[in-house]
Symmetry: C2
Subunit: 247 residues, 2 copies
Amino acid sequence: MERICMIIQYDGTNYAGYQVQPNGNTIQAELEKALLKMHKGTVVKVTASGRTDARVHALGQVIHFDTPLKIPMNNWKRAINSLLPADIQIVSAESVPSEFHARYDTTGKEYRYFVRNDQHPDLFRRHYTHHVRAALDINAMKQACQYIKGEHDFTSFCSPKTDIKGDKVRTIYEASITSDMDEIVFTFRGSGFLYNMVRILVGTLLEIGRSERKPEDIIDIIQAEDRKAAGKTAPPQGLFLWKVFYN
Amino acid sequence: MERICMIIQYDGTNYAGYQVQPNGNTIQAELEKALLKMHKGTVVKVTASGRTDARVHALGQVIHFDTPLKIPMNNWKRAINSLLPADIQIVSAESVPSEFHARYDTTGKEYRYFVRNDQHPDLFRRHYTHHVRAALDINAMKQACQYIKGEHDFTSFCSPKTDIKGDKVRTIYEASITSDMDEIVFTFRGSGFLYNMVRILVGTLLEIGRSERKPEDIIDIIQAEDRKAAGKTAPPQGLFLWKVFYN
């Protein structure tokens, strides 16, 4: 058996999320369907770096699986892509040691969240941005990002629906905002992220951008260790799993 | 009765084209369905500047219709948008003289065609660009554009499926190409366009870009007055009706 690691991209618009579930089409189900065909009916289980929610996208999701097939590494990408729908594509494939694990070996992740900040929606970007009509104070949001960085207990920024058993302490290496014309991009890079964490961070930052909260409120929200202290969860379609890091 | 003119945008991905037809969902059908609701069951016919094909988009399509309703002009846009699906939106609405005609009064149109020129497809742009893997000679295509400009009989660039009865002489004021990173944008502005004309122009220019034809071949293709002399019809998803001009 050979362990293969792949970087994949997907447009999450038409999926119920990454993980296989009884109802609804998922990214994992499509990947396993393609591998089932390649393996002539033998089930191949795929492990990802983590889940993504319904309508959330990925530019650099990482998966691994084991295969008995002897296929030159260059051909894997083309072979699977020809079996996948147009909204899921393999970017690269490589052979990895059998100890490699796409989920347990991650040392960090980067997410980006796209906001369109304009009076009018852009219908061509509706599946890939969150549209915010109200004028946003970018500097206030940037200032708030300074309080997000570092090692904190992020319980306040975690959905109560989480199944995380351990502590909710994570380290955020980068929390930054760039804006160009009517597009605002939030970038978060950290050791790990809790369930809905990026979307709750963005939802809270947008409330600061609308002057409904102050930048330094982030300090109190973190200290509260209570989901109710933070802002609304921003909608899924603006979120991209950008990159997964390994040693 | 008041005649109202509107600029509309749409993502043509999930439509069988602009014009109402027996099979398939169309932009016109969605507009008339929204107006039917606003007029409490009275049918309101919509006239557009022209049709667009299945999967073709519009940033500045123009329509008109007549209404007995007394609604402040500012409220029309919001009222119809709330009844339209997210992939069709009214940009602006204005009251016009009853002689105005969205189709007969056009003095010109601008189309843009988007190509992604890269080894890899961008799945997030798959509905809005035509993906071309082969390296393209941009300068050769720009040179070819010079032969497209001006007044010509464009029979060679018209689908034989056309129902145009009159002559096929049109004036092209602008035929230009810009490229930025992996994106190439073709812009065509002219007095009018024949059926599939922009897509056949782009398909032919791409063959010049791939050095399968020479820039000056455009002269012979125009002179042939024969669809078979020109290149393939480029696919619909890269095409946008950008703007419609009136006096």
